[in-house]
Amino acid sequence: MKRITLTILSLIIMALLLFPFYWMLMTSIKPPSEVMRSPAVWVTKQPTLKAYAEVLTKLSIGRYLRNSLLIAFSAMSLTVVLGVFAGYGLARFRIKGLKVFLLALLVSQLLPDVSLVLPLFIVFGRVKLLNTFAGVILANVMQWLPFVILILRPYFLKIPKALEDAARIDGCSFGAALIRIVIPLALPGIVSAAILSFLFSWGEFVYALTFLSSNEMQPVTIGIYNAIGQYGIRYNSLMASSVFAIVPVVLVFIFFQRYIRWGLMVGAVKD
């Protein structure tokens, strides 16, 4: 009985906490006449996909999403590759000054992006990286790399060195031992690092806002930001764009949920 009460209580709390997402979805499928209405229409009787059609055609949300995908996927790939190297190195070798390296990672992970954006803007301007995908991708990699290394290192630490040595004795080259033994065993960590760096880059705002002035290259976060001004009161379009923008988050929650909690925890607190 007590357990049922607890479940009902937390069901109410969760419903309240997640209610904004319901309102996003509901607003996006309402006909415009029902969006701005008092008393509010809690459940529409005339659901429509007009707002989605509108953002696809007028707001070219497709292009924004494609740009986001390109930026997030490239940033994720580069972050994971660099992160695997460093995470493995920090776990497997006796590194002099290990503490200093870990400290540098912890500090750079906590630095504000807004403080780095000005010096990077000036440097990127000099080396012609403004208004390029490369500039935003490089900044994203920098932003999430410390976090990713801190997630990956514990996974590599857990793999016994003896396993690797055994493979070497059996005639595996160093590279083959890494690919056949180490990477598969660390795969859960690599997957969670990949997912998190993808989602973080997907939602990144300040670098894209500052480095990409050309509409053609902006990701969906900036597309939505621009639309706030243009479509000040067109909330059904804004909500439809938002629904598009959270598709990857929803997919991850359906298919990969277990990978993110642990990764977030470890990365946020310490190694």
Binding site: L18, A86, I95, V114, S115, L118, L157
Partner: protein, 300 residues
């Protein structure tokens, strides 16, 4: 027994680290130093292309600090940060305590909570802009129906309520963050302690006060410090919701630093504001690191 590594073996270790750490040195280390240099130079829209730039000592800092707006910005920053932490910590802690009890669906709920941390902040910004809107925003409607409000409030357009509106939004994000970090610590407290105290006649409140809180002491400190660091540097959420307005009522230090550079093109002053922001954060980060390394050795 660990044998002594030969020089070449040690070198191999550094080769593995080299790509990532060289990358970070170029992309984090260099910009931080360059920002420090900029903060002592005359760099504005008219002088940005001039080489070499004029060294002007502490003039940028002087201008930033003597701007009457700066005190307001600093106050906003601390009100925003401490207010958010107070609510998100209290609510997050309560939720973590609740989810520590065993009941159907709790594991699922805990996982679901994380969604607020993964959604792009701009999406949260527009969503809450809509919920808090003065014209047909749902929050007004609910408050009026509950007879808490008489007439709709344009939460984000009123200087008196805008900061509260932005804080409300960020607290919504922060609750999950606090629950996520506190839950494992609460789960690690042995239930036998509570059982023994219960036998001795201690009620739930007393057990919370004399068992849960003392045992979570260092976890709580870490969560609060991390909360401060992550909240004090928030930029995108507020920038997309209000742009720091109306009349600077939501202008916090990161927004002011950004606007000095990218709205007013006073890059030197923007860099000086950045240094001040970094100084405040690094002081808190230092306390956090001392706590974390005292908690357990970083050797992992």
């Amino acid at each position: 027994m660990k044998r002594k590594l030969s020089r070449s073996e040690q070198l191999v270790g550094y080769l593995w680290l080299a790509p990532a750490f060289l990358y970070l040195a170029v992309m984090v280390g260099y910009p931080i130093i360059y920002n420090l240099v900029l903060s002592f130079q005359d760099v504005s829209a008219t002088t940005i292309l001039k080489q070499p730039k004029n060294f002007i000592g502490f003039k940028n800092y002087f201008r930033v600090l003597t701007d009457p707006l700066f005190l307001r910005v600093l106050k906003n920053s601390f009100v925003f940060t401490l207010g958010c932490i107070f609510f998100q910590f209290t609510i997050g802690f309560s939720l973590a305590l609740l989810f520590n009890l065993r009941a159907p669906l709790f594991g699922f709920f805990r996982g679901l909570l994380l969604v607020t941390l993964m959604v792009p902040t701009v999406v949260v910004s527009v969503l809450f802009k809509w919920l808090l809107s003065g014209d047909f925003g749902l929050i007004n409607e609910v408050l009026i129906n509950l007879r808490i409000l008489k007439a709709p409030v344009a939460w984000l357009a009123e200087p008196r309520t805008a900061l509260a509106g932005v804080m409300f939004t960020n607290i919504w994000i922060g609750i999950s963050f606090n629950t996520m970090l506190l839950a494992p610590g609460i789960a690690a407290i042995s239930p036998t302690l509570h059982e023994a105290a219960a036998i001795d006649g201690a009620g739930p409140l007393k057990r919370f006060r004399y068992i849960t809180l003392p045992l979570l002491n260092s976890t709580i400190m870490i969560v609060l410090l991390l909360g401060f660091i992550y909240t004090f540097k928030i930029f995108g959420l507020i920038y997309a919701m209000t742009g720091g307005g109306p009349v600077n009522s939501t202008n916090v230090l990161p927004i002011q630093a950004y606007k000095l550079s990218f709205s007013f093109f006073e890059f030197g002053q923007g860099a000086a504001a950045n240094v001040l922001l970094l100084a405040i954060l690094l002081a808190v980060i230092a306390v956090y690191l001392i706590l974390v390394s005292g908690e357990e050795s970083m050797e992992g």
